[in-house]
């Protein structure tokens, strides 16, 4: 059993990589009111690869994900201690502009949540918001590029003026991904992006994640271990608010060091 002290957790696991450490979390504790949701989590996430967070429901993996773009700020009772650095910058520093931070970190949610606007406006919303693009042609170009990258362009290029909510579930989720990448983030956080989708749509999204990792750092929370094995290079296993083990995905699934991890990934548990 891990007692949660710093010595037991190796921030980067045994994993050695040529990639740079992008997100560095140290001793993160999260409380919802009196209830502690994360215990002393220290985890590093490397640039331009996919890190998946796995674990049984309520283990704190979504909570951890939402710490990374400060979405937990929205919840009044939530308080966070510890240190999260992105590119060496403490994101909980009071001088940090949350809005600017979130423009660098895109997020895709469990349930597709397109705005009740047209497909075009959904994608154009972010760039417009940040005033990055004001020219009309340039905006068209940006929307097209984002939709192409999200693998949605061919399917809906004739339906740009239809409401985003009229698309199918899988298309909506890819629209949300297009919306996230339209603001050119460094990092994309995905909170169980395929849990509301059928296998075919899931396959498409997974393919997309694989392509996106050449340009973006992706952190994905997933309930499906197969998905974690398929799409991620590194995997972190959470249990009851503790980070149990983190390492190379292959190692985690083939030869986990921790018994609990082994029990979970082999399906005996959780």
């Amino acid at each position: 059993m891990v007692d949660g002290t710093e010595n037991d957790i190796k921030p980067n696991g045994n994993y050695s990589s040529d990639n740079n450490l992008l997100i560095d979390c140290k001793n993160v504790d999260v409380f919802y009111g009196d209830k502690q949701a994360l215990y002393n989590v220290s985890l590093g996430i490397n640039e331009k690869e996919v890190t998946s967070l796995i674990g049984p429901s309520g283990c704190g993996k979504s909570t951890f994900l939402r710490c990374l773009n400060r979405m937990n700020d929205v919840i009044d009772s939530c308080s966070i201690s510890g240190n999260i650095k992105i590119n060496g910058e403490d994101i909980y520093n009071p001088h940090i502009d949350v809005v600017e931070l979130r423009s660098r970190i895109g997020m895709v949610f469990q349930k597709p949540n397109p705005f009740p606007k047209s497909v075009f406006d959904n994608v154009a919303y972010g760039p417009r918001l940040h005033g990055k693009i004001t020219d009309k042609d340039e905006m068209h170009h940006k929307v097209e590029a984002s939709l192409v990258r999200a693998g949605l362009w061919d399917e809906i290029k004739d339906r740009l003026n239809e409401p985003g909510t009229s698309l199918s579930g899988g298309q909506q989720q890819r629209l949300c991904i297009a919306r996230a990448i339209a603001v050119d983030p460094e990092i994309i956080l995905m909170d169980e992006p395929c849990s509301a989708l059928d296998p075919i749509a899931t396959a498409k999204i997974e393919e997309l994640i694989d392509e996106l990792k050449t340009n973006y750092t992706i952190v994905i929370v997933t309930h499906s271990m197969q998905q974690a094995a398929r799409v991620s290079q590194r995997t972190a296993f959470f249990h009851l608010g503790n980070l149990i083990e983190v390492g190379d995905t292959e190692n985690i699934f083939r030869s986990p060091e921790n018994e609990q991890t082994e029990a979970y990934v082999t399906g005996r548990y959780g």
């Binding site: 929205v74 423009s103 997020m107 397109p114 705005f115 009740p116 918001l129 909510t165 919306r179 996230a180």
Partner: protein, 413 residues
């Protein structure tokens, strides 16, 4: 076992059928009541939409007068006297004159002022009978009553029958009802003054309560810190929505009129008082519709990097707009039909002139209904119903606007 299940199913099905029947029955009862109210109102208001009168010859050809010094009252009186009354004493002539509306002089003045070329000509002018004569033609008169207890004596009845036999009597649509302000004379009293007064009042209410209500709701919902003070404010807003309207009238009297010295009987004050009443309704409706926007939309916008204010104005507000508008219009409709608080701030005054500004003395339509219902003249009974119909008609228009706005701004999820 399966028998058990079958009997259970039967029970459930019949329970469902019964429930459906109860629902239909209550709906039917509600509809019947509505139909009864509207149709009885309509039936009782029918006499108010017509007036009896006769075409009176006005002789202006042999008189050498200019427009400025015409005594219209005398002109009408003299020309009425030309009709054959068979009177030889003053009392009789006075009685004869009493059959005609005292408003005839004003109408004649308006006619001549509109067309000064009539001076120096003979022309005929439709003048109204007084309310008693009008009612005689509409309903007849109960001859079994002794003459002293009747509104018309035998001689007057003879005259009126005489007019009818001569074919002088004419029934016309009562435009007065829609173009005049209030009057002591039922045949010339109209609802226009009250309608304008009501509209001015409700405009003030809208201007004050809509922005304040929506903004406070947004603040409470999205920005206010969750602490004891906001809880206290919230409880009080909910309480205010349940406070009897007359209390707001007392507050308005003490605050706006006595303390701030605003004019009595003015739509400005009426609007202020009604906004006090409408504010909590709008705040509650706005908060409810903001709450009903799926939180996922808020998260989506925040995650793209929208600020809290951008989330509110670009996402929450457009999505909540149909609900906000419906709530506002329902609040306004309630204020539109309100009379009690207006009584206290003097909008119950007898106002003949049609109000032209927010500070002119005015009355409101529901108060007009109350005033007329309280009047002793029998002709006001029909007027009361007619004014109520106008009120209901305006409320239907307001509610229709709510439905249309709701449809127009409804977002598809």
């Amino acid at each position: 076992m399966s028998k058990n299940i079958n009997s259970m199913m039967l029970k459930r099905q019949s329970a469902e059928k019964r429930f459906r029947f109860y629902g239909q029955a209550s709906l039917a009862i509600a509809l019947i009541m509505l139909v009864v109210i509207i149709s009885s109102m309509t039936y009782r208001s029918i006499p108010a939409f017509t007036n009896y009168g006769l075409n009176l010859n006005i002789n202006l050809s042999n008189e050498n007068i200019s427009q400025d010094n015409i005594n219209y009252r005398r002109l009408v009186r003299d020309n009425i006297s030309l009709l054959d009354s068979g009177c030889d004493d003053r009392k009789c002539r006075k009685e004869f004159l009493r059959l005609f509306s005292s408003g005839a002089a004003y109408e004649l003045r308006d006619t001549i002022e509109n067309d000064p070329s009539l001076i120096g000509k003979d022309f005929s002018k439709f003048i109204l009978f007084s309310d008693d004569a009008d009612l005689f033609y509409k309903f007849g008169i109960d001859n079994s009553l002794p003459e002293s207890e009747r509104r018309l004596n035998d001689r007057e009845i003879t005259w009126l029958n005489g007019f009818k036999e001569l074919g002088l009597v004419e029934k016309r649509f009562s435009t007065n009802l829609f173009t005049n302000g209030d009057s002591r004379e039922p045949e010339i009293a109209g609802v226009l003054g009250a309608v304008i007064g009501s509209l001015l009042t409700i405009l003030i209410t809208l201007i004050i309560s809509f922005p304040i209500g929506v903004l406070s709701a947004i603040y409470l919902e999205s920005f206010a810190p969750k602490n004891k003070l906001t809880d206290f404010i919230e409880v009080n807003i909910n309480n205010l929505a349940a406070v009897p309207s007359i209390v707001f009238g007392l507050l308005g009297l003490a605050l706006f009129i006595n303390f701030f010295g605003m004019p009595r009987s003015a739509p400005l004050v009426g609007g202020c008082v009604l906004s006090l009443m409408t504010l909590p309704v709008i705040i509650i409706a706005t908060r409810a519709s903001l709450q009903s926007v799926p939180p996922s939309i808020r998260e989506a916008a925040l995650a793209v990097g929208a600020s809290e204010m951008q989330v509110v104005f670009q996402h929450l507000l457009p999505a909540a707009l149909p609900g906000i508008l419906t709530g506002t219009i329902i609040g306004l409709a309630r204020a539109f039909g309100e009379s009690a608080p207006l009584l206290l701030i003097g909008m119950v005054a007898f106002v003949v002139d049609i109000p032209g500004s927010f500070t002119d003395p005015a009355t409101a339509l529901p108060v007009q209904v109350y005033l007329w219902a309280d009047s002793p003249e029998r002709a006001f009974v029909a007027k009361t119903s007619a004014a109520t119909l106008v009120l209901i008609f305006l409320l239907i228009i307001i509610n229709l606007a709510a439905v249309i706005l709701r449809k127009k701004y409804q977002l598809k999820w």
